[in-house]
Amino acid sequence: MAWVWLHRFGSPPYFYRVARRLVPWFAWPALLLCLGGLIGGLVFAPPDFRQGEGFRIIYVHAPAAWLSLMTYVVMALSAAVGLIWRMNVAHAVAASCPKIGASFTAVALATGMLWGRPMWGTFWVWDPRLTSELLLLFLYLSYIALRSAFDDVARADRASAVLAIVGVIDVPIIHYSVIWWNSLHQAPSVLRFGAPTIAPSMLYPLLMMLVGFTCFFAAVMLTRARAELLRRERTAQWIVEALDADQGGPSRGGGRTEQSAASAW
């Protein structure tokens, strides 16, 4: 059953069509969850007993850091699938990840600096968590540079897939850095074994932001993956039909929902 599913998603026309239909289903929850999380985090959550109002940076810092890691895992996994099964769709998904990942890694680093300044007294220290997260940014940038160094898409796919897979080692290092080493950064309070060590009124907005950002990633990534597929399948017959469907034609309703969801952003 799973194989049938994987096989169908490996078909570019099917993926292109389904991705278009899925985007609003991720975009709307993303918008609603992030709005809810923002209101909950900025208004309803009480000030932290030690950091006061300053802790509210967590509602953008933690989701950005979460996306920086999740995007990399998605990128590395799909690169591996593409490499092993020579699946063009998987390579397209991998190729649509690095810019999203790099931007949110930069946000995680910058908001972390803005949080570190008042709480630690410094914007930056060469702490294990901060250093490994900076390395992640460089991994994304190398991936983008490596991809653009090839004219041939297939070779770019293979070379960048190897980089993505090797680099995935940085993900557990980032996550466990605050446990393995003596770090200035606090230990995980949500994504940990056992119950979260954070009050529910602070936790629920954070969870909404985390799920909302995950949906946001899915919507953006699927849109980018569709663009990738159009560029890759240069001459395929299905593109004729797909473009007709995009313009209107038989499945006009699908186009409209995508439009409305996007304008709502």
């Binding site: 923002l38 900025l42 208004v43 000030p47 006061g52 109002e53 300053g54 509210r56 940076i57 953008v60 810092h61 989701p63 950005a64 810019k99 999203i100 931007s103 949110f104 930069a106 946000v107 910058a110 908001t111 803005l114 949080w115 300044r117 008042p118 946001f216 953006v220 990534m221 849109t223 980018r224 569709r226 663009a227 990738e228 159009l230 560029r231 240069r234 001459t235 593109i239 004729v240 473009l243 995009d246 996007a262 952003w265």
Partner: protein, 56 residues
């Protein structure tokens, strides 16, 4: 309201963080939609060149 904006003295750290996140999220949306639009336009132009009679 003013008290809310002051963020207990952390305004200069809290609000830039939120602003940055908003800007980056917006850039992600615009860039992804732009990439799709460009790819669609390129594909249409390509098809028009390849089959001038079918896709004039």
């Amino acid at each position: 309201m003013l008290k809310f904006l002051e963020m207990g003295g952390y305004a200069w750290y809290v609000w830039p963080s939120y602003a940055l996140m908003l800007i980056v999220a917006a850039i992600n949306i615009v860039a992804a939609r732009g990439a799709l639009r460009d790819a669609q336009r390129e594909a249409r132009a390509r098809l028009a060149r390849a089959r001038p009679r079918e896709h004039s």
